[in-house]
Amino acid sequence: MIDREPPVTEEELHAYVDGELAADRRAAVERWLASHAEDAARVAAWRAQADAIRARYGAAADEPVPARFDLDRLARQGRKWSRYAAAAAVIALLIGGAAGWFGRGAWEGAGPVRAVTTEAFDAHRLYIAEVRHPIEVRAGENHLNPWLSRRIGYQVASPNLDPLGLKLLGGRLLPGNSGRAAALYMYEGASGERFTIYCRRDQAPQTALRYRV
């Protein structure tokens, strides 16, 4: 007997397993599997994989939804965040040894910002220990802010922290982890404790929302 049916392709086998196969090919695939043991074994293995995945993770959807996912609360949080996002074309963190660091609660839970805090901490730890060369450009030199602004691509200025008893030592340029330049300002308190402000431009807009219908 000459088989007039076109041979079953691997794509059709997957489509068969996933319920995506055109109805008029289903019978043909089933006939094929009845006479091709190797393909039948593969199909059985794929089904077993799917069963194992569902058995392992399916129950996660039956767990009660925790309170942290309350949408009203998250929406309020979201609005707070979007205010930050508007203001945070530059992300700046003030880190100080004794005082801990500002804004910890506010920054937690956001991936890209967490990356910046890591960079800021690394820079802080590395340079506060420098006794003779903590900075590249001294505070007195008036090109400090224009230079750093140009290099990080955003207008920045070292804030005056005299009221807090902190004297600006100067600043330096750093390679941010993302390949963007970052500016580091260093301040010193009366008893030699050092504080740094780390600034760099925000990442390019996230692609997470790209969606086509």
């Binding site: 794509e11 996933d18 399916g58 965040w81 991936g111 790209r210």
Partner: protein, 163 residues
């Protein structure tokens, strides 16, 4: 509650399931779900109708890719596909093996497979989530299944583990 919010609310259990399988880490998974919800709520104006489930899967998938990138940026002495936090549940052998097998996949293949077999999306919907043609989804699926089969059959990929 608006229809938009209701749609999101109804999808949370499925997002948790998907994220759990994607990360194999319950805590990281819930962080991912929370980030997804915040992002979605903030972006209502960007949602132009269509299937809200697919839209949420898209956001979660992209956020996870960012997460993996930031993990990969840190110096770790292991291949990238092994960067994921290992499954800590220590459950019975078979279930643990499927988690390890998933961990051995390339991310795009893992996404395609999970969206189809765990979340029940159609090939067309997965193509939209991943932003690729249907043919690409099918080849990802095929490679994922071949890799898992090889893994479970004992052809383990050469994972370098640091004791």
């Amino acid at each position: 509650m608006s229809g938009f919010r209701q749609g999101i609310q109804a999808t949370i259990p499925a997002l948790r399931r998907y994220a759990r399988a994607l990360t194999r880490d319950a805590e990281a998974a819930d962080d991912l779900v929370q980030d997804t919800l915040v992002r979605a709520l903030r972006s209502e104006h960007l949602f132009h109708g269509g299937d809200i489930r697919s839209w949420l899967y898209t956001i979660l998938t992209n956020l996870n890719r960012n997460r993996l990138r930031s993990l990969a940026r840190r110096p770790v002495i292991s291949p990238i596909e092994d960067n994921d936090v290992p499954d800590a549940s220590g459950s019975e052998g078979g279930a643990r093996d499927i988690a390890r097998a998933l961990a051995s996949l390339v991310e795009d293949q893992r996404v395609a497979l999970l969206l189809v077999v765990l979340e029940g999306l159609s090939y067309r919907e997965v193509a939209e989530v991943q932003g690729v043609p249907i043919g690409t989804v099918m080849s990802r699926l095929a490679r994922a299944r071949a890799q898992i089969k090889a893994y479970l059959d004992g052809e383990r990929p050469p994972l370098r583990r640091v004791k």
